[in-house]
Symmetry: C2
Subunit: 467 residues, 2 copies
């Protein structure tokens, strides 16, 4: 062959040694992440400048690579896993999930078809069925009972886009509230649909069935065909909950596809007392939530359920000759490539399985309830503080408030919190009103961290008062 026998591969013994070192590095990171400033102090281009302009010609030692985790990577990390992370929504994680990612990477399977790794498909179908029960969703969402079923997607944005592609057969207009996540309008536009963002109810910021009905009728008058409405359980802005049942009535009247985006708050449905917020879910066409937000499972792990899988499969199934195989031809198996836009898929079900087993249903309920209790407690403190006002009711584990002195004071307060290094919140806006979102959900956030945040808030508002 004219080539040397030289090998550049890491052999199993080296893997074992270096692997232990990486595990130890992460364990150390877990121990110290709470002490690190949540956001890094780097200017644009500063991290890139530490990398050479070209790939190295010669192999580098793993020791050098590992060292650069501390010297190059860590200085540029925003610590989503800090217990002081109150920004955006959480992207929480856990030991079992991280180790499942490792095991999945080591197995290196590509689960596009049942035949290309039966365990990858069958464990996924089983655990998404488990979640149907854990979240109190209707049995027709299960593979076991059907005619629906669920699968793991990369993100709620992907899920919502895919739903809009499938619903496109029904018409050309998509509806959502003006508080819906940006991914709804984006997914609809990418799917080629026109989008109507509907005005929400005052104070609650929820989708108004009457407003939806009028919008649908106006579009019908114009000769357009309404296709789909997306309801949110927990909007990104303030955690608003749209009235699923009432929206389902309008959807039924006009033959609209009804999609539910519970990306964040879906995790709260492990608690039976929260399920009042999804009343009517037995009448929706699709439902999505992200275990990778608030259920201790690494990004990426979104679950998308269909009340009926037929329209999905009609839209996406096609079989080129190189994917034909006896198992698929028999009709006895599910090929998950038909459930998503991409063809290939990682073994993401492994982390969901490990998380559900490691925590048990009881453990998940316990920690989600703990986050909601922390938020409830914080909301009461906001209520009692003269310089602060809620901009919307506390929703699940999200508290949204402003400074009573107005936008400048609100932004100054957010900046003061974020400048502490120990806590990070998101400053956002409702129309022209600036406000602060405190989202509680990092795995290790406890009362200690919320107290520290509160001390910062009271300190900053006290200092600002004389001005």
């Amino acid at each position: 062959m004219g080539l040397s026998d030289e090998s550049f591969h890491m052999d199993p013994d080296e893997f074992r040694r270096h692997g232990h070192a990486v595990v130890d590095w992460i364990a150390d990171y877990m121990e110290r992440v709470g002490e690190l400033p949540v956001t890094p102090d780097v200017a644009p281009g500063e991290i890139a400048a530490r990398l050479p302009a070209q790939a190295p010609e010669e192999p580098e030692d793993f020791a050098a690579i590992l060292r650069d985790l501390d010297e190059i990577v860590l200085p540029g990390i925003t610590h989503w896993q800090s217990p002081g992370w109150f920004a955006y929504f959480p992207a929480n994680t856990s030991g079992p999930s991280i180790l499942a990612e490792l095991a999945a990477a080591g197995l290196g399977v590509q689960g596009m078809l049942w035949a290309t790794s039966p365990a990858c498909t069958e464990i996924e179908l089983r655990v998404v069925d488990w979640l149907v029960e854990l979240l109190g969703l209707p049995r027709h969402f299960t593979h076991a009972d059907g005619p629906g079923g669920g699968s793991i997607q990369m993100s709620a944005s992907d899920a919502t886009h895919l739903v809009h592609v499938v619903a496109r057969g029904r018409g050309d207009v998509a509806y959502c509230s003006d508080q819906a996540h940006a991914s709804v309008a984006r997914g609809a536009r990418i799917a080629g649909l026109e989008v109507r963002k509907l005005a929400t109810t005052p104070h609650a910021y929820a989708l108004d069935p009457g407003v939806l009905r009028r919008a649908v009728l106006e579009d019908l008058d114009r000769g357009l065909r309404p296709a789909i409405v997306t309801s949110a359980i927990g909007t990104t802005g303030t955690g608003a909950v749209d009235p699923i049942d009432a929206i389902a009535d309008v959807a039924q009247e006009h033959g609209l596809w009804h999609h539910v985006d519970a990306a964040w708050a879906g995790s709260a449905m492990v608690l039976a007392e929260q399920r009042v917020h999804q009343r009517g879910v037995e009448r929706v066409d699709s439902y999505t939530f992200n275990p990778h937000k608030w259920l201790f499972t690494n990004f990426d792990c979104n679950v998308l359920w269909w009340a009926d899988r037929a329209p999905l499969l009609d839209t996406l199934s096609d079989t080129p000759p190189y994917l034909r195989n006896a198992a698929s031809d028999s009709g006895a198996v599910t090929d998950l490539r038909d459930w998503q836009v991409p063809l290939g898929r990682r073994f993401r079900a492994l982390k969901l399985w490990w998380v559900l087993r490691s925590y048990g249903a009881r453990g998940l309920r316990h920690h989600v309830a703990e986050h909601i209790a922390l938020a409830t407690d914080l909301a009461a403190r906001v209520d009692g503080h003269p310089a602060l006002a809620h901009v919307a009711p506390r929703s699940f584990a999200l508290v949204s408030f402003r400074h009573v002195d107005g936008n400048a004071a609100t932004d100054a307060l957010a900046a003061a919190i974020n400048a502490t290094g120990h806590s990070q919140v998101t400053a956002s806006a409702l129309g022209d009103t600036r406000f602060i979102r405190v989202s509680i959900g990092q795995t290790h956030t406890t009362a200690v961290h919320v107290d520290r945040l509160w001390d910062t808030i009271t300190g900053a508002t006290a200092r600002a008062a004389p001005r």
Copy 2:
């Protein structure tokens, strides 16, 4: 709060202990994967039946979870990482890539914006720029020089879909060859475009510029607007290479977007002598390849480059209030959420960075060249075997052949190979002609494994001869 202080989390010490066990399990798996039957012997439903119908109520020990890797998972695994894996295309991997997946999961960052982890974005921009040079692509694909740039997507299917969404502004018809990967027509349809699959040249199965030009003119005559053509460097069927330069002429004549799908064969471009196959690439609008196929990087890791990022950003950028931040507003940073359909993103650049550093450019060239040499050698043996005939020329590391006795003999030969347990090939079809694809590219495939495959082929054809 009314809740107990009970914790269900795995603490850092437990993580350290269990993490070492998972690393050891993978190292053991690496050592024994070559001895395991490549495909599992399980009936549909058999793996699922080993899982309870409901999620466990109580937490389970990690030891039980780890034991089930052997007892439940492994019996249902198709071993893509076996050195006897010659099926589909490879999804190869390597020690540094697996460990980078672990580190990325441990950091748990979500890199949607520069500000949500500057290192995640800056390392990605730098390594995709490195790859521009490693693959001999034009400098205007780099972030450093522009006006283009690249980013990591989940899969070539996602990349191709996204390109069709962006190209939709130019018209309503998409073109590709009838040998293009199924994801091209699928991505085009999902984007809402009509698709023309064009007849290919005899023997080479390549896109014919004359056929493309006639199809475009016919559509123009019908009042349709041609939008985009996709050329393949290495089709999935037989590894056909479309004439990029000649297709670029037609694209230029008619204002078509020109996308190149080099999902598999892009990795071969690390070798300067292979770049003749991408002649004309400096004139294309977008180019995609999968390091997760043949560049020792775990799925998922696709790279998609744009010759000009403006049409992409015009299509996808929008900024809701909760994503506004000073760095983004300054225009000094790249927010990679604007480069993809999903919003969230894992720190996938870490594995690409670790792979490029661990192998060095020289190591990557060495091992890719080794696979091509093995395929070249196998192709010569097929040439010299009276019972076998190529159905297309050997392409990079893919050899496509049939049994001269026809389809039944070809399928029987494929079945005999796959029944050995040590080697796995894909049986496919070109029109009515069945053939066998031998794709060489698993990380640890060497002459030993190709020889064993060849012994099976010669044995099976010798036994079949008397019939």
